[in-house]
């Protein structure tokens, strides 16, 4: 039972495609578990379809460009069509190799190997030996994930059963999705699929519940700041490592 969801506004930004790809990773991880939010995003995509059609016959036209008369900096439609057809014929000709870089591990294979995880995360960690776990607290380890962007730090966090994590506050936004196990803080219990968004200034002390080890995806757009003396000592090890 998923209790914690991204808010409507974040799902709308996701559907619009205006959020950072690392944040999109956390939202899509939640969607893997949550039918209700998947349906919500589908509805927003429908709104996208309506607004796309509306570009033609409403008074709203970006920069007053007349879309049907080809704007001067753009190519006539028939030319554009011919070049698209030339390209699809090229791609469909088996002698030509598609420019698209096929990723090393097909997502279907990845999700078969780690079937309990969202397929895109499975793809990122399909070779677990590449994960470098760093212990940042007695019961807490962090492994950095390379996701091909440089604005957010994306990590997996392991919290041992019964483990307690240092109190920390947030300079930036932190998006957490529980992947396995469960943890709780003063606001509630979080189990597989639950989504948390902590905003700048929030302070919380996650504390893994004793029943199971906990694995989370964390996306942070500024480094965590641990509070208290021990936190101060540990802080230098938890620096923003975008990638």
């Amino acid at each position: 039972m998923i209790r914690h969801h991204p808010d409507i506004n974040l799902l709308l930004e996701y559907s619009a495609g205006s959020i950072d790809s690392a944040v999109a990773l956390s939202v899509s991880a939640h969607l893997h578990y949550c039918e209700s939010c998947s349906e919500q995003v589908n509805r927003f995509n429908q709104l996208g379809g309506i607004l796309l059609e509306e570009l033609e016959h409403s008074s709203y036209q970006p920069e007053n460009v007349n879309l049907r008369a080809t704007p001067s900096m753009l190519r006539p439609l028939d030319q554009l069509f011919d070049s698209v057809m030339a390209r699809v014929d090229g791609i469909e000709n088996p002698a030509t190799v598609s420019e698209a870089q096929a990723s090393e591990i097909p997502i279907a294979v990845a999700s078969k190997i780690r079937r309990d995880l969202p397929a895109n995360l499975a793809k990122l960690i399909v070779k677990p030996r590449f994960l470098k776990w760093r212990r940042v607290a007695p019961a807490m380890q962090i492994a950095h994930l390379k996701t091909g962007q440089n604005r957010c730090e994306v990590s997996l966090i392991k919290i041992g059963a019964g483990g307690r994590v240092l109190e920390h506050n947030h300079k930036g936004n932190e998006y957490t999705v529980v992947l396995r196990g469960a943890f709780s803080d003063q606001d509630g219990i979080y189990s597989a699929g639950d989504f948390l968004h902590r905003k700048p200034g929030d302070v919380h002390t996650p504390n893994a519940t004793a029943d199971a080890d906990c694995l989370c995806l964390a996306v942070v757009d500024a480094p965590l700041k641990f509070t208290g003396l021990l936190g101060w000592l540990i802080n230098p090890f938890v620096q923003l490592q975008p990638g």
């Binding site: 379809g49 033609e56 390209r87 997502i107 091909g148």
Partner: protein, 220 residues
Amino acid sequence: MLASGNDLPKIKAKVTDRIDPPTSGSQNTLRDDTWSQTLLLIAQKDRKAFERFFNHYVPLIRGYCLSKPVPDQSSSLPDELAQEVMIKVWQKANTFDPKKASASTWVFTLARNCRIDLLRRSNRHIAQPLEIDDLWADEEEHTPVTHLQKARDKDLIAKAWQVLPKDQIQVIRKVFMEGKTHLEAAEEMDLPLGTVKSRVRLGLKKLQLIVANRSNEVDQ
């Protein structure tokens, strides 16, 4: 859904008879069905159908691209995007399921993903372990048909959109079509972030776009 299923052969016959699809905005329903049927023809590699589809959607995709400019956007980006999307349409038309999405929704998600991908490719030289479709997945593939809104619901949304208060239309356009975050929209309109967020929520609720069990969240 059953009704639209029964209508399929009839509409298909219309498409094949017609040289040009209807262009009047008042025929939204038929139009969308028409484009869905056109997609099914494209799936069979019908080039004439593809050209009709192309001529209708390319100007819209350009408009979509122009409505959300990025800094230093190249003036050819709308054309690049339109070409990428149309290549995808040609290649992926066989995965289109008219029971799950309308043609315009399908094109919207392709355009959104292609645009992000184009910007990502032009801006960065970092290895990309994930495809854009891994991040903005086609959830419809995994969602049972019974959970999806049907085409007729889409017409209701379109109608509700026409009568939505102006201030709500304005923020939803900014957030959705212009690709601004709520924070950016708030700064641009000189409004508190909370006001922008609640205005958007109110608008979405009036459009009946909020999934039933989430209405509490909207009222908070």
